[in-house]
Symmetry: C2
Amino acid sequence: MSVAVDYEDNTASAIAQQMAETGRAARAAAAELAIAGTRPKNDALAAMAGHLRAGEAEILAGNERDLVAARKAGRNAAFIDRLTLNAERVEAMAAGLEAIRDLDDPVGTVTETFERPNGLRIERTRVPIGVIGIIYESRPNVTADAGALCMKSGNAVILRGGSDSFHSSAAILACLQAGLRDAGLSGNAIQMVPTTDRSAVGMMLEGLNGCIDVIVPRGGKSLVGRVEEEARVPVFSHLEGLCHVYIDGAADPAMARDIAVNAKMRRTGICGAAETLLVDSACARTLLPDLTGALIEAGCEVRGDTDTREIDPRIAPATEDDWSTEYLDAIISTRIVDGVGGAISHIAGYGSNHTDCIVTSDNATAERFLREVDSAIVLHNASTQFADGGEFGMGAEIGIATGKLHARGPVGLEQLTTFKYVVRGSGQTRP
Amino acid sequence: MSVAVDYEDNTASAIAQQMAETGRAARAAAAELAIAGTRPKNDALAAMAGHLRAGEAEILAGNERDLVAARKAGRNAAFIDRLTLNAERVEAMAAGLEAIRDLDDPVGTVTETFERPNGLRIERTRVPIGVIGIIYESRPNVTADAGALCMKSGNAVILRGGSDSFHSSAAILACLQAGLRDAGLSGNAIQMVPTTDRSAVGMMLEGLNGCIDVIVPRGGKSLVGRVEEEARVPVFSHLEGLCHVYIDGAADPAMARDIAVNAKMRRTGICGAAETLLVDSACARTLLPDLTGALIEAGCEVRGDTDTREIDPRIAPATEDDWSTEYLDAIISTRIVDGVGGAISHIAGYGSNHTDCIVTSDNATAERFLREVDSAIVLHNASTQFADGGEFGMGAEIGIATGKLHARGPVGLEQLTTFKYVVRGSGQTRP
């Protein structure tokens, strides 16, 4: 930590002072980083990877401290798994930084050029956003990934991970900052909130006196509400993924089954995992038992409304809450809808504008779904689990944005930049 | 007005109910408009232009009502001028709608395509944002321009113009809604806030229960503060334009004079007008008297710090406030800075990230300014008055966005859209 911090001094005024100082330091680092060029940024990423590998013992020691506390606090197995680091996972983080080093630097790319009749040459050029604040879960690897992505795109970043991962993240951060300094860059380009006190989240959402340009909140329902209420700066929401698979009457049965099972069960804990299966009333009687059977066989609990349970008694009863629950677990809700129009209505009412899929052999029906469903990613005959920057060919990503503006869908390096118009003239004045 | 409104019932609960109804009607109209296609939108624009021309008498009667009230309220001449309509200005509005009709429809444009090794075809496709709320000054022509731009880009819009223009805007709105209905579209695609009560602005900034996707605030300092404090939805700020012209030591004297005078005086009331002239200490003694003389001759008051007044006693004293004042009038502040670095620092401290210009014959110095000044538009050897969507070749625009995200610089049709990823597969599941 480059800002001098007394971790024991958690009075409100001390926290406010530390946070303000963190913001000012980030703003200064951002101005420097924005014009640093690709070379030192790549050098820093390589050095960070080296420090992560060399610092494995310290990182695992910090992680052990977090794990002891998390077990004592009775965290569940999935939580502990996301929190746990080991030699293999440290190496994966280091390799991840090297992969980010190898991605193209988006800063300075000219995305449009207009030559005007008066001789003005106007370029639309990618530039860093400035200072990015990231609020995320107790997943230590995000500290490395998110810090590196923001830095490579020329931004300073203030990280606030879940408090259960504080010591793991602090040890990782020390490696990242050492790498920055090795490359002659300011260690303040990647900072961590110097306290686990939750008031710091509120201060970030208010923008630290203009020192944060955008907040990236990652998390579930409790964070959604807080962001909506408290955010005073722009937000790239990475919040709920309430993804739907709609099986149309004209779907190929085998494809429907494969996609439904993959969308739900390949990995249940990611935001692109399906949470609700919508089945066309035209094919429910013939297809639903097969779909349910395949899901149950894959280890999934299937919940449904009365209509589905009349068709297949293995389906457990669903309540109204199920349609808006992101299980992130081996549970799926299912409902019979009246054709593609019914599916579109259900998704409009309960979806989270993340990722939704239609399975059908009827292209006209598919195009209607793709056009009318208002989500970041809409798929025809492909699993929702493809909602991933890597699968889109973007390289690493911070997550899938569910907001509509600036960054929608996978947020990689390009989405972490903005642009300016650069106009070159020869003395033109406007008549 | 398609929402039944009793203009006399301005109790808080009645306003809240009217606003909520306006929001719901906009959301429904947006869903319809998003998939309407180009033809009915263009038909509506043509019909709107016809209704404006046919409705000239009603529009001018509404305007007269506003003008009587504004004169009684002691509004100044510039204000009255912006508020005033006449036959020529009504015709200009109608012609403006026809020009928007003739622009390409951005909706449905595929801006990127990725073919993935697994056979997935991913398209990034422009889609409307949804519902746009616009808060603007007492300029009746904005009602037509902004309403038409939002509609053509597939968005529903809720307009809240300055209360001094309420009756002018209401008469214009009636023509726009008649045009929408002629084309078979919902009149609710363009609505006006059904009250002049200022509480309605606060309700818009809070997003009308999720019915507004983005707010476009246009205005000066008082609106800036209110937006920062109250906005709970994304914002495309069109706020202050504190534009600078920096005259470098290596500037051509004649070009410096022409650009300084044009940037300030061509039109003083637009956001791209220069407000501060920065002069390199290397050339202040030789160039400043010439620059000051030309500005004074053009009718401009020049205010400056002690250093400038020692060089040219015609310069009036400036206070600290002058560096952050958007005059929108024939006044300019001037200051001597220490080369391009001094200019960049001054702009970082006092600018509004809108439009800034350097005049120099030294390309390396120019490139440093273009790279380091963090504004939507940076110009080399060209007047700041080129900060305009038309001058950029975008056609009509709502204004110049001073925020950093999504829309930066001129906001035309494209900037009023967002995008979705459309993925077409043939049964792909993720391994």
